[in-house]
Structure formats: C-alpha cells, structure tokens
C-alpha cells in the first residue's frame, strides 16, 4: 500500500512538473509574441548613445523598418553625418551592410555590434526565446516594482549570439531584464527594459539600457561600465512599400 502511495505521489509530481514546464513554455511564447509583429509592418526611430567608461560618448540615430511576417528589416543610419546613408538589409537569413561611400554591399551577420556599441544588429528584431532556447531553470524574483519569473535559458541552436541567457519576465509577459552569457558562462552584458510603449496590440520597448561587463573603469570602489542607451521613438504600424525592403532602396536613398 505504502509503495503504491509513493508511486502515485511521484507520478503526480512528474505530471505537475510537466504541466508547469508547459506553462513556462507557453509563457515564453507569449513573451516572444508580444514583441513580434506578424500582422503588420513596424517602423521606429532609434537613438543609440554609447557612453565609454572614460565619459566620452557617441550618438547614432537610425530609422528602422520591420516586416516580421517575411523576416525582413531595413535599418538606415541618419546620424552621425559621417555614417549617414549606411544601411542594413535583412531578407530571411541574409543580412547585407550598405556602405554609401564605397557604394557597395557586404554580407554581414546580425550578431555584429551596431556602430561599435553593445547593441547588436539582431536586437532590432523581435525575440524568439521559445524557439531558440531550452528552459534550464525557473524561479520567482522581485525586480524593483515588478514581480518577475526568472528564466535560465540555454540555446538549442548555434545561430544565436549568446548561448546562455537569463531573462526576468514581469507579470504582463514583458522582459524587464536580460543577462547575456558567453559559451563559457561569462556574463557579457546586462540589458534593462524600464519602459515599454504599446503599438496596436503589441509592445515595443521605449528605452533599453545595456551594460557591457567586459569594458569598464574602476574609480575607487565604483565600477563604470560601458553603457549603451537606446531610445525608441515614433513607433508606427503603417504598411511600408515592398520596395523598401530591397537593396535598390538603400542605393536610391543615398542618391537623393
């Protein structure tokens, strides 16, 4: 009799954990879903300020156009003047960088740093945590005013930049904090998403603050990290012409 009870309890335990895991997978899918725009185009203006530990800073302003349903995006640099006209075009798995001075395209990777900041080109797109990562552990934690579920994720594909990530997801299924780790488990960067803006029935971060853990300066006991602040303004769901997501567009926009 005792044996049967133990077996039954174990079985219930396994079933509960499977259900819980399924719930967490659902939650991750929702996290991805809330920042992915499959039904419409998305455009926005990004202001990226990179502040070095020594205090010097550089600002980049870029216009971003996304069509998630076709896995396409175009990013056009508007500032600084020296880089004006530089653009990225993503079509499926292919990503090109257009150089307006050399007037040529080079094949590049979404994992590259954008304008040498901690912001990656891949950060312009929506997330796919549920597809690219497996859940290793889950716990509950309070992050400021948010009650968060903390996911420890490990990549199930080599196509992602960071093989290990840790995300803090608030009750509204929005990522509030993100830690990216290298293959060896070293913390590379921490991103904070203090605020979001609603666009249609989806969400776009209003501000992202990224801290590079490898580039820093110690001033007494204080550690100043390289910090990249991203402000996303004027998000719009207006449909963009098909011709925008082409190489010709990037060439044309530079001849005007």
């Amino acid at each position: 009799m005792k044996k049967r009870i133990i077996v039954a309890l174990l079985l219930i335990g396994v079933i509960c954990s499977v259900y819980a895991e399924t719930d967490y997978i659902k939650m991750l899918k929702e996290v991805d879903n809330l920042v992915t725009f499959k039904e419409s185009d998305l455009s926005a203006e990004y202001t990226i300020v990179k502040r070095d530990p020594d205090g010097s800073s550089s600002t980049t302003v870029a216009a971003m156009f996304r069509r998630d349903s076709e896995e396409k995006f175009v990013v056009l640099v508007l500032q600084p003047v020296a880089d004006k006209g530089k653009g990225y075009l993503k079509q499926g798995n292919n990503l090109w960088l257009y150089d307006p001075i050399g007037k040529g395209f080079t094949f590049t990777s979404a994992k590259e740093r954008f304008q040498n900041s901690s912001f990656r080109v891949s950060d312009f797109t929506g997330s796919n945590y549920s597809g690219n990562y497996d859940i290793k552990s889950v716990k509950q934690e309070k992050l400021g005013k948010f009650n968060c579920t903390v996911f420890d994720l490990e990549a199930n594909t080599k196509s992602v930049s960071f093989p290990k990530v840790k995300i803090w997801v608030s009750e509204d299924n929005l990522v509030r904090k993100l830690e990216d780790y290298s293959l060896s488990g070293q913390l590379m960067r921490t991103s904070a998403f203090p605020s979001y803006q609603k666009v249609g029935n989806r969400w776009v971060p209003a501000k992202i603050i990224i801290q590079d853990h490898l580039v820093f300066r110690k001033v007494g006991d204080k550690v100043e990290y390289e910090r990249t602040t991203v402000d996303i303004k004027n998000p719009s769901l207006n449909k963009q012409p098909d011709s925008l997501y082409t190489k010709e567009y990037l060439e044309r926009v530079n001849t005007k």
Partner: protein
C-alpha cells in the same frame, strides 16, 4: 708574374695607399649595405616563420573555411615524406575579426590568436624575443590557460606577467565565447607580428568550440639551409597522392584565388604554401631596396674607377723608366700590361679584404644601436637591433664587381704602358 705584381704592389705601397683606401671603403659600404639588406630579409623570414606557422604551411580546407578535422593524419603524411624537416606541429589559428583581449576594463583587438602544441613547437617558439616569462611556463599543469602576448599588447592593456586577462572570440557559428587566461610570457614585438597571442592549441579549440584534434594548419620548419620552394612542392606532391590539393601557390593572391575557387566544395582539400609566398610582396620591397643599394654602389664604383684611372695614369708616368728597363731585359708588351692589371687586381683583392673586415667592425657598431623605440624599424630588427647576414654568394658577387671595376679602370693606363717604346722609356728623366 702575379707574385711579381704583388711584390711591386708592396714596394710601391705608398703610391697605392690612397687608391687602396678608396677600394676598401667602397667594399665596406657594399658589404654593410648588402649584409643589412639580407639581414633584414632573414629577420622578417624568421619572424614570419613563427607567425605564419613555419617555413612551409599546410592548410586544410572545407569549402572556403580552414579546417583539418584530424590533424594527426596530416602530420603523418608530412613525417612520412622523408624531407629535410626539423619540426612538424599542428596549429589552430583564430583568424576571425572579433578577437579581443580584456584586462581591467580595457581591451585590444588582436590580428590572430595562435594555438600551438608547445611539446612539439615549443623549441621554435622559444626563439620569440621574450622580455618576461617564456614558452616553458605554458608546459605542465601550471601552464593551464596560459597566454603569451607582445610588449605592445601588454602596454596597451596595462598588464604584466601573471595578470589575469579575458580572451573574447566569436565562434565559427557566431556565438560569443570568453575564457580567463593568465599572462605567462611577454615578447618584444611592435610591428604587425606583435598583434598576435600564443596559447595552447587544445585550449583554443575549446574556446572556438572545436574538437581537440582539430587544426587549421600544420606548421612545418625545414632544416637549416634547405631549399624551401623545392620542399614545398615535394610536400604538395606528397599530399596529392592521397588528397585533393591546390595547385602550387606562389603568392598570397594565388592562395586567395584558389580558396575562392573552392567555394561550394565540401570535400577536404589541402594547400601547401611556403613562407616565401606569404612574404612575396615584402620580398619585392626588399629586392627593390637592394636594387637601389646596388645602384648607389654602382655610382660610387664609377667615382672610384675614375680615381683609379687618374691615379694609374700618374703611376704609369712615374714608372716610365721602370717600364723601359723591363722591356729592355726582354719582357713582352703584353707582359707589361698584364703586370699592371695583376697589380690592380691584387690591390682590389687586398683592399676588399680590408674593407670586408671594416664592414664586420661596422656591423658590430650598428648592432650596438637599440632601435626598439623606432616603431617602423620593428619589422626588421630582433630585440630592437638590426641583424646582418653575410652569404658566400653575396660576398663573392661583391668581390667580383670590385675586381671588374678596378681592373677595368686600370686597363687603359696599363695598355698605354705596354705600348711604350723601350728606348724612349729609358730616356725619360
């Protein structure tokens, strides 16, 4: 007759002293300039052999990516070739753009990270001009996660021996990876060869997310004095027996072309390339420099020749009675000419030998100057000092030029002396 000419030269040494000095200085200049030019070329080749994986590099390709999944099989082929080789060792080299070294929040970009097997290649790499630590510190359990960097890298990062640094690379698939390393050695390089770091191959393979037996190339060091291009070709033919190989590679351009041509080919292909091919452009530059050197020396020789011509005219004039006596006792006109030419040749030989010794002394003094502060000179110097190389061929060539120049200058006065009627010569006061 040559001995007679030598004796004459010795007896008339005061007359010939100035001429001998000009020839000696000329030969010293030739020796120093050619010695330093060849020394620079040899220094670059030695540095390049350490940087570019030996005198001969055997690459493996899958598509356009460098990859030798089983490096032992390549080493086996090379060892069975029975060519005059002294070291054969696999290397994993990270050629990617995103490789950085972090220390205390600062970072530098490296041109390449070289993963070497120190058991087999340690002897070659121990010749790196270390200022602190060395290769031996990477052996054994204490050498785990050790890295060797250049003085330039250490200066930019502010690191010293024993400091912990973080190496950061992007794997072939584009994933970021890092590893904590300990600085076990600092070598003195300020030029492009300085933007490389050396570490254990298997440890680098782990960071690059590769198997332990994987390598990008095999470093092959030939025995002293070997004919590198010939061994390269023989090694290529050896690989061709069992594998697909690229055609002979003479320049880096050839290498890039064959590599691009291999796009889409998933079959393993080997490529054998000599360090000479790697340095083809640099060698052309040094050849041009050598050509300029010889041009300057040619001008100098012309000036010396004019000096010798004039001096010989005076000597012939002063020795007219002597010529008359020689002819009177039965010496033929051609013999008189020959004596003067032999004297000139002997003068060139003796003065050149003296010039050669002067050149060696000059090399010693040039070697005293520490040029490590001159960044541009870093490529051509070892431990901040210019090296010289005196090859038999270059010395013989220089001597030949000097002999030809001096005897040619003495030709006309010697001929004039031989044509002098003996009675008229004897009548001269």
């Amino acid at each position: 007759m040559f001995l007679f000419a030598l004796r004459n030269l010795f007896l008339q040494r005061k007359r010939y002293a100035l001429m001998a000095l000009a020839v000696a200085v000329g030969f010293m200049l030739i020796t120093v300039l050619t010695g330093l030019s060849y020394g620079a070329l040899e220094t670059i080749k030695t540095k390049a052999a350490r940087y570019f994986s030996g005198h001969i590099i055997v690459y493996g390709f899958e598509n356009t990516g460098m990859s030798i999944p089983d490096s032992k099989s390549y080493v086996k082929i090379i060892n069975h070739s029975r060519l005059p080789l002294r070291t054969v060792s696999p290397r994993s080299v990270y050629y990617g753009k995103e490789v950085r070294l972090f220390f205390g929040g600062n970072y530098i970009r490296l041109l390449r990270v070289i993963g070497a097997d120190f058991e087999t290649e340690g002897k070659e790499l121990s010749k790196l001009p270390f200022v602190e630590g060395g290769i031996e510190a990477l052996s054994g359990p204490d050498g785990k996660n050790g890295i060797i960097i250049s003085t330039e890298a250490a200066r930019l990062l502010g690191t010293r021996l024993g400091d912990d640094v973080i190496i950061y690379i992007k794997t072939e698939e584009g994933q970021y990876n890092t590893e904590n390393m300990v600085v076990k050695g600092i070598f003195d390089e300020t030029n492009i060869f300085g933007y490389a770091a050396y570490m254990n191959r298997e440890e680098l393979n782990i960071i690059m997310d590769k198997d332990p037996g994987w390598a990008t190339e095999i470093a092959v060091y030939a025995k002293e004095g070997s004919n590198i291009p010939l061994i390269t070709e023989r090694l290529r033919l050896e690989f061709a027996k069992t594998k697909d190989v690229f055609p002979p590679i003479h320049t880096r351009h050839d290498f890039s072309e064959y590599r691009s041509g291999n796009r889409g080919n998933d079959k393993e292909v080997a490529a054998v390339m000599s360090v000479n091919a790697q340095l083809e452009q640099l060698k052309s530059l040094l050849d041009a420099f050598l050509l300029c050197t010889y041009f300057v020396l040619f001008i100098f020789l012309v000036i010396v020749m004019i000096g010798i011509l004039n001096t010989y005219r005076v000597i012939v004039y002063e020795r007219t009675r002597e010529i008359g006596t020689m002819r009177a006792i039965g010496m033929q006109a051609s013999d008189v000419k020959r004596i003067f030419l032999y004297e000139a040749a002997a003068l060139a030989l003796v003065a050149s030998a003296f010039g050669f010794v002067l050149g060696l002394v000059t090399f010693h003094f040039v070697g005293l100057f520490d040029l490590s502060k001159v960044t541009a000179a870093g490529m051509f110097t070892e431990n901040g000092r210019l090296q010289y190389f005196i090859g038999f061929r270059s010395v013989a060539l220089n001597l030949f030029f000097m002999l030809v120049a001096v005897t040619a200058a003495a030709w006309r006065p010697a001929k004039k002396a031989s044509l002098m009627p003996p009675a008229q010569a004897l009548r001269k006061d």
